[in-house]
Symmetry: C2
Subunit: 232 residues, 2 copies
Amino acid sequence: MTRTRWISDLHWVRAGQQTRSQRTQAALLDAAAMLLAEKGVEATSVADVAAAAHCSVGSVYHHFRDKQTLLYAVFERMCEEFRATTREALAPSRWEGASVDDVLRSFLAFSLELGRDRPAFKRGGLAVAQHDPALREHYGALRTEFYDGLTELLLDRATEIGHPDPPLAVGFVLDQLGSMLQARLEESALTSRLANRSDEAFVEECLRSACGYLQVQGPAVKPEPDARRGAR
Amino acid sequence: MTRTRWISDLHWVRAGQQTRSQRTQAALLDAAAMLLAEKGVEATSVADVAAAAHCSVGSVYHHFRDKQTLLYAVFERMCEEFRATTREALAPSRWEGASVDDVLRSFLAFSLELGRDRPAFKRGGLAVAQHDPALREHYGALRTEFYDGLTELLLDRATEIGHPDPPLAVGFVLDQLGSMLQARLEESALTSRLANRSDEAFVEECLRSACGYLQVQGPAVKPEPDARRGAR
DNA sequence: ATTATCTATAGATCTATAGATAATGC
DNA sequence: ATTATCTATAGATCTATAGATAATGC
C-alpha cells in the first residue's frame, strides 16, 4: 500500500496516483451522499454505493478502508463546503451599510437556499453525523462558529436594537430562527401551518417577529431601504 | 392460528388467551420502544428486543407477524397515549378564565414534560415513523389535531390579541414554539445558546417573544396574575 | 511496473420458521 | 387440550478480502 490520506488514526482514504482514481473517488462520494440522504446510513449498503457510482464493491474498498471511512469522508466533505461557504458569507466587507433587518433577511434566504440547493449533499453528511456523537459534536462546533459570526455582525448594529439586553436577545432570535429553519427544511416535516405558505411569506413573518422582539424598526419604516442594502 | 388483532391487512398482532401472553407482549413493546429510541430502527434486531424483554426470538414471532408489525405496534401505542393525553389536556373546562399567556405557558410546560418524562416511549415511536411515510403522515395528523385544539383555545381569547390578523398570528406563534420545542428536545441537539439555559429561562423568553408578536400583555402587566390562572 | 478495477466468495449478522418442550386453565 | 415458550437452523443480506484482469503513464 502506498501513500494514504488520514481522517483519523483508524480511517484512511487512499490518495490516488492516477486521474482515474480521483474521478472514481468523487463519484463514490457523490453516490454515497445521495443514497445516505435518501435511505439513511443502515439502509445504504456498500454494494448500493458501488452500483450508483458505476463501479464494483472491490473498488470501494480499494479507496476507503471500510464502510465507516467512506461515510466519514462524505461527512468531512460536507463540513468543508459548509465552512467555506459560511466563512465567505460572513466576510465583514459584504455587510457594510447593512441593517439588522438586512442581516437577518439574508441569513434566512441563505439558509433556505443551502437546504434546498443541495439536499442530498447536506442531508447525506447529516445522516452520517446522526450516527456518531463525535461527528455530531464536530458539526455542532461548525454551526456554532457560523452563529457566532452572525451574532457579532448583529451586535455591531446594537444601536438599532431597542431590547434592553442585546446579547441575550440576539442569541434568542438566532436560536429561534435556526429552529424554524430546521423544522421547515426537514424532509420528515411534520405538517405545520407554515409548510403550506411560500418561502417569501415565511421569511416576512419570521422577520416581523424577530424585529419586533429585538425592537428594531421593521423594513417598512426604514428610509430608503434599497439604498442601504448590503451585498447579495 | 386463533383470533388476531389487526393493525392493517398485512400486520396482525396475536390476541393472547392467557395473562402470561399480555405480560410478555407489554414487555416486548417496552423493550422495543427503549431500544428504538436508543439505537434506531435498523440497529435494533429482533434478538436484541427479545433479550431486553427476557424472552426468546421465537416468542416475538408468536406475538407479532414480523419485525415490522412489532414496530408498528410500538408506534400505535405511542399514538394512542399521545391522543389520550392531548385530548384530556385540551378539555375546555380546564381552561375557563385562562389568558393567552396562561395557555401558551401551559403548552410549553406540557410539551417539555412530555418530551422529558417518556423519552424512550416517545422517541421509540418516532423512530419508527421516521422510516415510513404513511406513519409519518399519521403522526402529523395527530399533531395537527393537537395544534388545532390549541388554536381554537387561543382564538377564543382573540380580544386579548392586538395583532391585526389573529388567525395568522396564532398559527405562526404555535409553529414557532413547536419548532423551538422540537429543537430543544431533540437528542441530537446541535449545541445552541439556549441549550445552556434552564427550562424556566427558555419558557420565559419564548413567552416574551410570543406575547410581543401577538401583542398581548406580558405576565408582569396583568392584574392579579395568580387569581386568573387556569388548571395546572 | 504500477495502479486501479473486477469477479467470486468467506464469514458474520439478522429475519423468520420448524419442531420440541413447558405452562395454563377449562 | 390449548396456548405460550424455547432451541436450533435455513436462507437472505451485507461487509470485507483474495486473487485475477485491465488500464495507466514513466
